[in-house]
Symmetry: C2
Subunit: 343 residues, 2 copies
């Protein structure tokens, strides 16, 4: 099998992890779990030269300095504007040989089990080589309403993978509980494997305007060392669509590989606490803190000492001139706070 080219997407703002995640230094570039940043961990997961080729990073100008600081020498496609994942992946596909297998990885997720990830990546790559468009089907462990789901279809012989019977948008709780109970549904974690040429031909079938505009932006673009800058005008004219909506839900060749790898999108502070090692009381601390009579408390401080007494299921985050104190349920609302909205 030829090597897999990681395509690492660095977009998004991570406002639900405010005030740690800020516009100027968002979620992928922070050491949220352990000592490495989510972006560094994403690159490290795809760094075994026996399996992976050098990565290709797709990011915006506002994140370029972080990318280059955290992954020296990386090949980077610098998006002149944000046009969602269909266009971002197409930019990468056009930099590759049509026969290359690309593994699209968001850079703001946590994966606890790197070996399971590698096994799933290899299985996905084998299917992609047969021109399947492959999603990682993340083993669902809770009736999450914030994720899309993949309904598993028939097995694809000798591959370990399955056809996707159906893509399901974010369900309500009742449906999410049905999905979980049935065992037939997996979370759509936004990790994909494609043959570059196969992806582009599906995009041309289902979204010819996007495909044409991305080709134009590449034709009008220019390289600058390890950076490639697509033409801003052509790229800016592209319709923003997710790869799920533009391609995956339309193709007849959608497949999935099961992936049980301790995945989390670290979608809010509660999810981050769940991804971190905790002490016997369920508490986890980054920075200086004293906890008395606390359970399931996350404290993260960039300086001041935080003393907490008697609280359960609470998050305390100190970042410069902003302090957040929230219940677990409240973590869903963090992105709507004045501080998060007006950075």
């Amino acid at each position: 099998m030829s090597k897999i080219t990681p395509v690492i997407l660095c977009g998004g703002s991570g406002t639900r992890l405010w005030p740690r995640s800020r516009v100027a230094k968002p979620k992928p570039f922070l050491p949220l779990v352990g000592d490495t940043t989510l972006f560094e961990a994403t690159a490290a997961r795809c760094s075994d030269p026996a399996t992976f080729a050098a990565p290709l990073v797709v990011t915006g100008t506002q994140h370029l300095a972080h990318v280059e600081a955290q992954l020296a020498g990386a090949q980077v496609i610098v998006e002149p504007s944000a046009r969602n994942t269909a266009a971002a992946i197409a930019l990468a596909a056009l930099q590759l040989d049509p026969q290359d297998i690309m593994l699209v990885c968001p850079s703001d997720h946590h994966i606890a089990d790197g070996d399971a990830f590698t096994r799933a990546a290899r299985a996905a790559a084998a299917l992609a080589a047969d021109d399947w468009l492959v999603s990682f089907g993340i083993e669902a462990t809770a009736p999450e309403t914030g994720f899309g789901y993949l309904h598993r279809g028939e097995a694809i012989a000798a591959s370990g993978g399955f056809k996707v019977a159906r893509f399901v948008e974010k369900p309500d709780l009742a449906r999410a509980e049905q999905f979980l109970a049935s065992g037939e549904y997996a979370w759509n974690g936004g990790i994909f494997a494609f043959r570059a040429g196969a992806f582009l031909s599906e995009l041309e079938s289902h979204r010819p305007a996007i495909a044409a505009a991305v080709r134009k932006a590449v034709a009008e673009g220019h390289a600058d060392g390890a950076r490639f800058h697509p033409g801003a005008e052509a790229f800016g004219a592209i319709q923003s669509e997710s790869v799920d909506y533009a391609v995956m839900e339309n193709t007849a060749r959608a497949a999935m590989v099961p992936a049980d790898m301790g995945w989390s999108d670290i979608g809010n502070w509660q999810a981050l606490r769940d991804a971190r090692p905790v002490d016997s009381d369920g508490n986890t601390v980054v920075g200086r803190a004293e906890l008395v009579g606390c359970r399931n408390v996350l404290v993260e401080s960039d300086g001041p000492r935080v003393s907490v007494i008697g609280l359960e299921n609470v998050i305390v985050v100190v970042d410069g001139d902003e302090i957040l104190v929230t219940t677990d349920a409240g973590t869903q609302l963090v992105g709507k706070l004045s501080g998060a909205a007006n950075q």
Copy 2:
């Protein structure tokens, strides 16, 4: 009636209001309720020249700068060391004429109803002029276990006051509930009125060693402008005892005047929240904050913005390099935190 001389005691550390109250700037000198500090409010309560003479402040060297900054021109007795209230009051009594009526006021309490305070002060002064040693009996509004109680005895004719049948040390909850239900008990708030000579003669009867040592410290002391410095060696030899224990529980002339004046000792953060104006959700904020879905939350910040989501009955205090987050029940433990203990 001759004028009353306020004797304002400035001691104590207020560690249960840490991290706002610090060794270097403790509770009396902070604007905890409204814009004036507790010390300033204490002085202002006793400032009507129709009723009060100029105050006499008793404090330690570590608080002297705060006293002089917040009450310009004050006569100050500077204790060379802390020897509790019996000695502090004796120092003041020896600076006065034996016929002077002194009103002893702690400087770290909050009194919402200044007029009620003045009425009680006048009633207490009238009794003191007849050589009663008078405690303010604070109307008990809850079965507090952190206060001493006064058991009301027989009425003293035409005075509005009562003999004290008994002083009771801090009771357990069951007894405190009995006290509250009986209606015969009041809190001992540490506010006293004495004729200076009567106090000294009672002190000499019941604690002759303290009385003699204070006289010696005064004889060996020296004035420095508006400051008086007792002799350090003699004062340091004094036994630390409260005025309650040394004098009030022993004298046959203990009286009390009822005082229903919105009193609070601001003994912890929960008590402070109760003393402050709150909004319709019971929240109170000093500094920059955004509260979402909160009830009975106090936020106090000296700088950073504090965003709180979904919490009830919680206190959040930001002071420089220390941040406290506690439940109401936890406020009792604040003084034992590492930060409060090792300032």
